[in-house]
Structures are given as C-alpha cells and as structure tokens.
C-alpha cells in the first residue's frame, strides 16, 4: 500500500464527497466532537454542584473557586499548566495503543522506569556538558519507558497475554525495581530517611519556560501530542495502525505486519510515559525516589479516555484535569471540602463522557439533510 492510497483512504473515510453538501453535513461530525464532550462536562459539573449542595455548600461558590483556582489568575494558569504537563505524555501512553484496539493502562510503570533510566544516564555522565547529559537523559528515558510497554505488547503478540492486565501488573514490578535500586545499589548514602539516588546536579536540570513557572515538560508534551496526531492521522503507518485497530483479521489479510505495528506503537507509547518520567526528574525532583510514583500514569488513562484517544484532544483535556487538580486545593481551603471531592468530580466526568459516547451520530439536527 502506498502513501497516496492511504491518505486517499483517510479523506474518503473522514469526509463525504465535497460536491453540494451543507455546512452541517460537512462539519456535523466535527461539531459533535466538541458539543457532546462539552455537554457531558456541563452535566457532570451540574451533578457535582448538587453533590456539594448536599454538603451544605453553595454550588455557585464552588464554580467560582474552581474557575478562580484553575484559570482565574496568571498564577492559577501556571499551576494548571504545570499539572497538565505530565498528563499529556502519560495520556499518550494509553491513546497510542488504543489506535490498535489495545487498552494499555501501565503508563505509571513506564514513567518510573523512564525516570530511573534517565537518572542512571545522568549519574553515569557527571562532568559532561549539561546539554549532552540532558540529551542522554531524554534518550535513556525514552528507551527505558518504551521497552517497558513493549514488554506488554510482546506478551500480547507472542504469548496472547492480555495487555491491560500485563501493563497494570508491570506498574507494580516497575515500582518494586525502583524501590529496590533506590534503597540499594543506587542509594545516596546521605539520603537517610528518604532513600533516594544521588542528585543529577543543578546544572543538568531543564528549568522553566522563560517568563513562567511552567517547566519545559509542557512543550515536550505538546510536541509529542502533535507528532502523535500527525503520525496517526497523516501517515501510512498511522493508517495501517487504525486499520489493524478496526479489524485485525482484515489487516492481516491485506498483508499488514500487525506484530511489528503492535511493538512499534507500544514502544512509542511507553517512550512518551518514559519521557514524562525523565522530565519529572530533570525539571522537578532532581533525582529518583518514591515521590515519582505520584499517579500521573493513572490520571493519564482518564485523560486519554476523556479525549476519546485522540492525541490532539488530549491537550485540552489534560489542561482541564490539571485545572481541576489545581483548583482542588482552593476547594479544600475555602469551602472545607475533603480532598476526595476532586476525585468524585473526576469520576462523575468520566461516567458522563463514557455515557455520552452513545450519542455520537444520533443527534438529528447535526446530521444535515441529504
């Protein structure tokens, strides 16, 4: 199959013939992709407002503080973007394999292994120029995380092991390896009560985007999301992946190398999460310890599903969830709500978005006349 044929296929599948179609017919599907999640979000916020009202708090206060804490000031925006940065990358770890119909939920494990590999690379290269060390950390993080998820892909391809279960279990194995090394071979003897590796050194940290408090991880995330989108929707490789995801037998019949696709996509997915781990080390923690297991990998699953596995949609969804978590503190402080209320909101949004899936293609006025 040639590139031209593949791209032609995308066009044919995505849009009806260009001649004499109405606006809704042409853009109805795209509008749906914005309207339905937005409605689901508003519905979820309304239900959460009722939930909070039962606690005896004013829902309007709730909405104001959520907005204020997430987007209300420049500080709040930076807070939100900082929290969104790792989520974009960990969400890609779920969204990329989803194109193949695989459900990978082990981004947390790839993040930890990526962090560990990046730290090991930095510690092995002490004394080299910072830019060299940083590049080595990126490479190590990408390879470490990539191979970790490739393990799940290989188990699925060659042994028929369910990739969802294996990737989840690999999270705990990854955490155990991290703890083992951090408390043993890689431990800085000076880290008495918080076993940690040695620090990678202030010079090797990647710092923040000028003029902001947001670290460069956000840019890495944006680039990775956009690159993933192009890969999936505008290359032969991506088209082949989506064909295999739609019907694996058909893909095999037309001669697609499904095994190679699975391994490559799994590697790219893990590479994204591994990169998130590298950034946590190089932009935030400065070393590896148990703090890295902060659940970014798991929140990333939520982001990917809310974005309907679309790499571009992951960006606004990650910002939204970053905002919810940024405003969570303000809800605790101003309204006296327990921390779990943020989890309740995330859960309600999740349920609404999943339920709203049933609406696609069923909203009459968006179909247009033909």
């Amino acid at each position: 199959m040639t590139t031209d044929a593949a791209e032609g296929g995308v066009e044919a599948a995505g849009v009806a013939p260009a001649a004499d179609v109405g606006f809704l017919q042409r853009y109805g599907a795209s509008i749906e992709y914005i309207l339905i999640p937005a409605a689901a979000l508003i519905g979820a916020l309304a239900v959460f407002g009722l939930f909070v009202a039962m606690y005896g708090k004013n829902p309007l206060d709730l909405y104001f503080y959520m907005y204020y804490g997430a987007f209300g000031t420049w500080f709040s925006w930076q807070n939100t973007l900082t929290r969104a940065a790792p989520l974009i990358l960990t969400a890609l770890c779920t969204a990329l394999p989803a194109q193949l119909g695989m459900v990978i939920i082990g981004g947390e494990g790839a993040l930890l292994i990526g962090a560990l590999s990046a730290t090991a690379a930095a510690l092995a290269m002490q004394g080299a120029a910072p830019i060299v060390v940083q590049i080595a950390m990126v490479i190590a993080g990408v390879i470490g995380g990539g191979l970790w998820i490739t393990l799940s892909g290989a188990l699925r391809q060659y042994r028929g092991v369910n990739e969802t279960i294996s990737s989840l279990l690999l999270v705990y194995i990854g955490l155990a390896i991290l703890n083992h090394l951090v408390e043993g071979a890689m431990r800085d003897p000076a880290s008495l009560n918080k076993p940690s590796t040695r620090e990678i050194g202030a010079a090797n940290m990647i710092g923040t985007i000028p003029g902001t408090d947001v670290h460069w991880g956000l840019v890495f995330g944006l680039v990775a999301a956009i690159a993933s989108y192009i890969l999936i929707y505008h290359t032969t490789f991506g088209f082949a992946a989506r064909v295999a995801g739609g019907n694996i037998r058909a893909a095999k019949i037309v001669g697609l190398g499904v095994g190679k696709l699975i391994l490559t996509i799994c590697f790219l997915a893990g590479a994204c999460a591994g990169l998130a781990g590298m950034i946590e080390v190089a932009a935030v923690q400065g070393r590896t310890n148990a703090n890295l297991a902060a659940g970014y990998g798991f929140t990333g699953i939520l982001v990917a599903f809310l974005a309907r596995q679309n790499p571009l949609a992951i960006i606004p969804v990650a910002i939204l969830l970053g905002g919810i978590s940024a405003s969570g503190g303000l809800l605790q402080r101003r309204l006296g709500l327990p921390d779990a209320s943020v989890l309740v909101l995330q859960g309600i949004i999740f349920v609404f978005v999943l339920a709203s899936d049933a609406l696609y293609g069923r909203i009459g006025f968006l179909k247009g006349k033909s």
């Binding site: 703890n179 935030v284 902060a294």
Partner: protein
C-alpha cells in the same frame, strides 16, 4: 469552553495578583491577621501522622488573630510547590508548615528561596547551613515515648513476644523499633520483638496481613510505625491482642486493648512557634526535642496496664524529664547479629548525630534491615 478569552483577560489580572503577592511578602512577619498554611500528605483524619499535625493546626485556630488554611493529600511532587504558592498568592499565608518528609528537598527549599520574607517550618527535615535561613526543620525524639511503650508492653505480654509493623528500614523507624525493644527488655529481659516491614508508609492491606501473621506466631502486644496505625490497632484488638499506639492516641479505636502509645505533641509546639515569632524571637532553624521539651508525649495508660508497669514506666519518664536526661542507647549495645554497635563506655544521648544514621536492629529484635 473558551480558554483563550479567559486567558487574555486574566493575564492582566494575574499580573496584579502577583504584585499583590509580593507585597504580602514584604508585610511584617506577624501582622494583625496572620494566615498559616498546613499541608498534609495524607488525609487529616487518618488516626496517624497527618492527624497529629492537624491537631496542632487545630490548636492554632483557637488563638486570636490567626487564620489557618489546610490542604490534605498533597503528593511530594511539584504539586506541593504549587500548593505553597497558592496559599501565599491566593490566601496570603505568611507562615507555612509543609508537614511531610518528602516536601523538604527540593520543594520547600525552592519555595523558601523564592519567598525569602516568609517563614517555612518543616517536620522531619535535616536543616543545614546551606539551606535558606527562613526555612527551618523541627522533629521530636519520639523513641523516648516508644521506650516507655516498650516497658509497658514488656510487662503486659504473657508470651514475651512483641510485634512491630514497620514501613521501611530507615533510621527513624529502626530507632523506634530498637527503643521499643530495649524498653521491653527492661521489663522482661527475655522479651523479643518480631518486626515486619511493609515497604511503604500507607499499605493497609499489608499492615493487616502483618498484624495477623504476628498474632498467629504468638505475639500478644503490637505497635507500629506506619502513617496510619488504625489498621493495625483495629485488627489486633479484634484478634484479642493488646496494642501500643503511635502518632496520636488511638484508644478510641480499641479502648480495652490500648495500653499506651507514643504521640506527637504538635498542639503544644505550634502555638509555641507562633508565640516566638510574635515576640520577635527567632525559631532555631534546627529544632529538636523529646518528652522534656514537650514535642512528644505518651498516651494515658489503658485499664489493662498493671500497677507495676505504670510505676516502672513513670520512673523512667521522670528520668527523661530530669535535668540530666536519660540515654536509651547505652554503651555495650549489641545488634541482633552479635556485633557491638555502641562500644562499652560511650552512651549516645538523644542529640548524638550518630543515632540519626542508625542502620541496625538491636539484640532481641527478630528481623532484618534488608
């Protein structure tokens, strides 16, 4: 969702808010209404580490002119930096208590450098000369209270087998296990402490399994060093064993089985800190103390504690409170592998920095550090 419009409008407002934030920083350390921020790593009603700090915060709320803001379940990542900044920028906090060990370096140090006019007090860190002057670390010699618990446990155990559910083999934990065992052997020289490490600070399932397995081996008095002792206390009481508490008083959970416990006394220390600041005194950057300094305390004895045990424990407690003090770790101390860890003739008093590096289990402890 129109993030773009919001962002432009609030960029300007945000600039103003940022300016206001730094103006707050320039305000005197203790103005008419002072806001104090508390940050917890777990939930503040965990019957453990975080509740102990929340009790200290509650004591501050009773003082006039103070406003306390609290946030729970804040992970040890840049999330805590953002929470600190949010408390400063949005709530006007001028004194901050990030209470979890992992908040210290790099997170709290970074914030202390960023807001040099504000005061940061951290629980458990090891402040050193290279750290900012507006940051401090405080901690208590809670092994004194564990030693008293050990004495009571030694008298109360019929089998002479004691159990210890511990998180990680780090110096602070090993010191508690050793002090508890040495106290118990004061009461019953043949007493042994079986220790089980769960591997992390909050592992309720493993803690319950450890509790059950200890009781199955004939242990009849248990204590622990994990973040939330609730699991151990409730399970042990259900099985008919007795318990010594940790962090806070857990007797409401098991009124009959509760003997005594090693508690933090933050409700005495925090008001003291605030009064020192108000009086213009400087809080030492490295602040430590035990029973005598009222940083730790013991729970009131339960009804099952014999008169003999009470008398012995009270005698030792009086020695801790006396001017000359009392050394738990005395010369001629042998570890459980038969090696002499403190040479005869050198008593290691509480403030001895060697004790902060403890990496052994004393004779009488059944278990290994790795």
């Amino acid at each position: 969702m129109d993030f773009g419009r919001i962002s432009r409008r609030h960029l300007l407002q945000g600039g103003a808010a940022l300016a206001a934030g730094s103006a707050l920083g320039l305000r005197g350390a203790m103005a008419a209404e002072t806001t104090i921020g508390f940050i917890y790593v777990g939930s503040r009603d965990d019957y453990g580490y975080n509740q102990a700090h929340a009790q200290g915060a509650a004591a501050l709320k009773k003082l006039p002119g103070l406003k306390v803001v609290e946030e729970e379940k804040v992970p040890e990542t840049d999330a805590v930096e953002k929470t600190i900044e949010s408390m400063i920028n949005l709530d006007g906090a001028s004194l901050l208590f990030p209470t979890s060990f992992g908040y210290y370096n790099p997170h709290m140090i970074k914030m202390a450098n960023k807001f040099p006019k504000l005061r940061f007090e951290h629980c458990g860190g090891l402040w050193s000369e290279k750290d900012p002057k507006n940051a401090g670390s405080y901690f208590g010699y809670i092994d004194e209270a564990q030693y008293i618990s050990g004495i009571v446990a030694g008298y109360s155990s019929k089998s002479g087998k004691l159990g210890f559910v511990a998180a990680k083999p780090i110096p602070q934990v090993l010191r508690n296990i050793n002090a508890f065992t040495l106290g118990a052997r004061l009461a019953n020289p043949k007493a042994t402490t079986q220790v089980i490490f769960t591997g992390d600070w909050s592992m309720p399932v493993k803690e319950a399994e450890a509790t059950n397995s200890l009781i199955d081996q004939g242990v009849d008095v248990l204590t622990c060093h994990v973040d939330g002792p609730k699991t151990m206390v409730e399970n042990a009481a259900r099985r008919g064993a007795m318990v010594c508490g940790y962090h806070v008083n857990q007797s409401p959970l098991a009124p009959k089985a509760y003997l005594t416990g090693a508690e933090w006394n933050w409700e005495a220390l925090y008001p003291k800190f605030v009064k020192m600041i108000a009086a213009g005194e400087t809080i030492p950057n490295f602040y430590r103390g035990g029973l005598k300094e009222e940083i730790v305390k013991t729970s009131p004895y339960g009804e099952a504690v014999s008169a003999e045990a009470r008398k012995h424990a009270d005698d030792i407690k009086a020695k801790f409170l006396s001017a000359e003090g009392y050394a738990i770790f005395k010369g001629g101390l042998v570890d459980n592998k038969g090696k002499t860890v403190i040479a005869a003739g050198t008593d290691r008093g509480q403030k001895d920095p060697e004790l902060e590096k403890m990496d052994y289990l004393v004779e009488g402890v059944l278990g290994a550090t790795s």
